[in-house]
């Protein structure tokens, strides 16, 4: 119901230009501008909802939680990947230019095809691997693993990724080669590798220790700058490089 949130006692108006693309009408994208009433609390998502409900109902974009946890509403704002719901128009002067997330194929308007990102996530085996547990799970006498707060703290940050894909739009290497597993997938692999309950690192290293794994990264670091949840995927990728190098050395010695 964000459309009716923008009241009549607005502080001012803003100009938003949105890159439109309607593949069943035209092969070329075009820009469309909207003048909107805004107040201090108006987010970019509020603005898009206002456009959809009041100005042009054909504008398509993804959104859901409007509280920066579902990861749906990533777009480029003046060339920078951002979550629409956590971007406030009060922070912008002049025209605001909105485009779909960079480096993904555009399906329509601000909607991009995320399939390749989902494939990358699945490829790194992002789940707890413990094939021969000391105490197998028994529903009749269920027992947890032990994990100290310090052990939890080692991986917790990397478990906070909301899969919004902003880091892929920020990553020049992913832009050049979409086969690169990319920041979020590697951070997630790293999250499980660091988990004291997990024994799947060896399986994951095979995936990470190759050109499309950690070695595509040239440490630009923009992925961490745009991350809305401070996951710091660049740190995960580079810690992953150290692990991958060790993995290679160990494999050499074991011959």
């Amino acid at each position: 119901m964000s459309g009716d949130k923008i009241g009549t006692d607005n502080l001012n108006t803003k100009l938003i230009s949105v890159k439109r693309y309607l593949p069943d009408r035209s092969t070329e994208p075009y820009w469309q501008s909207f003048e909107l009433p805004v107040d201090d609390s108006t987010s970019l998502l509020d603005a898009l909802n206002h456009i959809k409900e009041q100005l042009d109902s054909t504008l398509s974009y993804r959104w859901s939680c409007r509280m920066a946890i579902c990861g749906s509403c990533g777009v480029m704002v003046n060339g920078i990947p951002k979550l629409g719901c956590k971007t406030f128009l009060r922070d912008y002067d002049g025209e605001i230019r909105i485009e779909p997330l960079a480096h993904f194929p555009v399906q329509r308007d601000l909607v991009v095809d995320m399939e390749i990102f989902l494939e990358h996530l699945a490829a790194v085996k992002p789940y707890l691997i413990d094939d021969n547990p000391v105490k197998p799970f028994d529903p009749a006498a269920p027992q947890t693993y032990q994990q100290s707060p310090a052990q939890l703290a080692r991986y917790k940050q990397f478990a906070n990724c909301i899969n919004c894909g902003l880091c892929y739009s920020a990553c020049p290497q992913f832009g050049l080669n979409p086969e690169f597993r990319g920041p979020a997938a590697i951070a997630l692999a790293h999250r499980y590798n660091l988990d004291s309950r997990d024994h799947g690192k060896k399986q994951r290293m095979a995936e990470l220790n190759r050109h499309e794994g950690v070695w595509s990264c040239t440490f630009v670091g923009f992925c961490s700058k745009v991350c809305p949840k401070h996951v710091d995927p660049a740190a995960a990728v580079n810690q992953g490089k150290v692990e991958a190098a060790k993995h290679t050395l160990i494999a050499l010695f074991k011959g």
Binding site: M1, G3, D4, K5, G7, L22, P23, D24, S41, K52, E53, Q54, S57, T58, S60, Y61, R62, W63, S64, C65, R66, M67, A68, I69, C70, G71, S72, K86, Q107, R108, D109, V111, D113, L121, A122, K125, P126, Y127, L128, D130, P133, F137, P139, P142, Q143, T144, Y145, Q146, Q147, S148, P149, Q151, L152, Y155, A159, N160, I162, N163, R197, D198
Partner: protein, 595 residues
């Protein structure tokens, strides 16, 4: 139109749907013959609204706690309108499910000794709520999604909007889904179908819910004759941010946060929740740890008495966390800090957070039996979309995340058992139903009609629900809301969308969601109007109806769809086999009683 065959189709990729998918896969492999499972969701699974749950998941954990205590809290919390056999099953299976989540990697917060930590929650007699900081739903959802990737038999259909079920001879035979990216229909033939589509908070203007929480699955089952049960019970969460309604978790109060009116007074002591507990020493079932219905009602009373403050246009009270200290706040409630700072520019470490009640949870839903099966054979429902009978007239915080697991798994297993003994039905029924859906879509996009706009109807619906079916209700207000909703249902028949594109047509989806919303809004209003008593979240101001009336209304409401005609209501007995209805009391008043 493409047709695909599956043993089991699961609609909804949130906590309940993912747990059902994994439960079905495990059950099938135990049965010795793998089954093919389709998991459809209108969004990528990790976007599902489970992601926004913050506080935690309840289960009897400590040696001093008992199943009986969790049972008693849940039954009295629900004002005795719960199915007691279901609650009994729930409390006995809660702990194993949370441990199973831990074994799958869920990053539960820990004690120094490496054991899982629990926190206090409203209406619970003791601390039994597991949590992962204040992003419990987020971590549970991602753990379930990631774990589901281990099962090759689960085939996902991300961004497929399920339009309808196909039912033949009293049994479900499949679903019809719209692929959002292409606008094409896909037919999925199935031997069993699980609905796990979430609640309907978006029927109301001011709510904590994500935009996708539009009640589609409820409407689908309802239109095929399944009863919607107890739909009049809508939970107002006492602490939403003014303006947006964004959720500020009950865990803030579990950790010791207090609620103040504009005079800095802890007003809850005036509403049967006292005496005041000392600052920094929260006590279960006292003051801020009372149940949600009572706290939201106390806000309303303070508002009427002119003791609420203002934040922008909103009347508010204040959630004060400052005495917890920066370290605890940042460690236990980091997301709350982020939200308050981003959305209202308030730092909870430094100032009290203005808050107000917001619609949060749909207690009622698709009626199922204790095994999650609906009145249509092979059709199961679990999670917020379902009414298995766990929450009654008021849900206790942290019971619903556990519900997703306990009943998601059960629904998945039951679906798998049925699929093992059932053959696919003839495709004809599915095809005929798909043709009907295609015709409806074509009509919505044909540019004809009287020019009714979905946006206008939606705004009128959310306004009507808020004004007539709020925290306190009156006969006149509810009658008016029901009349408005019925008019809107008529006007909806003339509705059209502007966007005629087949590719990612979100206007069409919003319009379809609105049609679902209007149907179930009628059920909600009708249940509210006909329940002439006050119980849990349903409070009436009308003379003679301000108290609970067990003689006439210790009954579930069941509302049945009647096509374009008016919905019909019946009453159904409640399972009270273990605990006879007693007075529901908190604070010192609840000390003596069992509750």
């Amino acid at each position: 139109m493409q047709q695909r065959d599956f043993d089991i189709v699961i609609v909804g990729g949130g906590g309940a749907g993912l747990r059902a998918a994994i439960g079905a896969a495990e059950q099938a492999s135990q049965q010795g013959s793998p089954q093919r499972i389709a998991l459809l969701s209108k969004v990528y699974p990790m976007r599902s609204h489970t992601v926004a749950a913050e506080g935690g998941a309840a289960a009897v954990t400590s040696a001093e706690d008992t199943h009986q205590a969790h049972f008693d809290d849940t039954v009295s919390g629900g004002d005795w309108l719960v199915e007691q056999g279901v609650v009994d099953y729930f409390v006995h299976h809660a702990h194993q499910e949370l441990v199973q989540m831990e074994r799958w990697g869920c990053p539960w917060s820990r004690k120094d000794d490496g054991q899982v930590q629990v926190r206090r929650f409203g209406g619970m007699k003791t601390a039994r709520t597991w949590f992962a900081a204040d992003k419990t739903g987020f971590h549970m959802l991602h753990t379930l999604f990631q774990t589901s990737l281990k099962y090759p038999e689960i085939e996902r259909f991300d961004e497929y909007f399920v339009l309808d079920l196909a039912v033949h001879d009293g049994a479900v035979v499949g679903v019809i889904a719209l692929q959002i990216a292409t606008g094409e229909l896909t037919l999925l033939r199935a031997k069993a179908v699980v609905l796990a589509t979430g609640g309907a908070g978006r029927l109301f203007r001011f709510n904590t819910n994500a935009g996708i929480v539009t009640g589609d699955g409820m409407a689908m089952a309802y239109r095929h004759g399944v009863a919607l049960r107890d739909m009049e019970f809508v939970q107002y969460h006492p602490t939403g941010l003014p303006g947006s309604g964004i959720l500020i978790t009950e865990a803030c109060r579990g950790e010791g946060g207090i609620l103040l009116n504009k005079d800095g007074y802890r007003y809850l002591q005036d509403y049967g929740l006292g005496p005041e507990t000392p600052l920094g020493h929260p006590e279960n079932k006292y003051m801020e740890l009372g149940p949600r219905d009572k706290l939201s009602q106390a806000f309303w009373q303070e508002q009427q008495a002119g003791r609420t403050g203002k934040f922008g246009d909103s009347d508010v009270v204040y959630l004060d966390l400052r005495h917890l200290g920066e370290k605890t706040i940042l460690e236990r409630l980091p997301f709350i800090c982020e939200l308050a700072k981003s959305y209202i520019n308030v730092d909870p470490v430094k100032e009290p957070v203005p808050i107000r009640p917001a619609v949060h949870y749909t207690m009622g839903g698709i009626e199922t039996n204790p095994q999650c099966e609906t009145s249509i054979a092979g059709l199961y429902a679990a999670g917020e979309c379902a009414s298995v009978g766990l929450h009654g007239a008021n849900r206790l915080g942290s019971n619903s995340l556990t519900e997703l697991l306990v009943f998601g798994r059960l629904a998945g297993e039951q679906a798998s058992r049925r699929a093992a003994q059932t053959e696919w039905a003839d495709s004809g029924v599915l095809k005929a139903q798909a043709d009907r859906q295609q015709a409806l879509l074509t009509r919505l996009c044909d540019g004809q009609g009287s020019g009714e706009k979905w946006v206008d109807l939606k705004h009128a619906m959310v306004q009507a629900m808020e004004s007539g079916c709020g925290i306190y209700r009156t006969e006149e207000g509810m009658q008016q809301s029901l009349a408005v909703i019925r008019q809107l249902r008529e006007r909806y028949r003339q509705v059209r969308v502007n966007d005629t594109s087949k590719i990612f047509n979100t206007e069409l989806l919003e319009c379809i969601e609105l049609g679902c919303g209007l149907d179930i809004a009628e059920a909600s209003c009708l249940g509210a109007l006909e329940r002439r008593e006050s119980r849990g979240a349903h409070q009436r101001l009308d003379e003679g109806m301000q108290k609970r009336d067990d003689v006439n209304y210790l009954k579930h409401s069941q509302v049945f769809y009647q096509g374009d005609g008016h919905a019909e209501l019946r009453w159904q007995d409640v399972d009270v086999r273990f605990s006879a209805p007693a007075e529901r009391a908190y604070g010192d008043a609840g000390k003596e009683g069992k509750a």
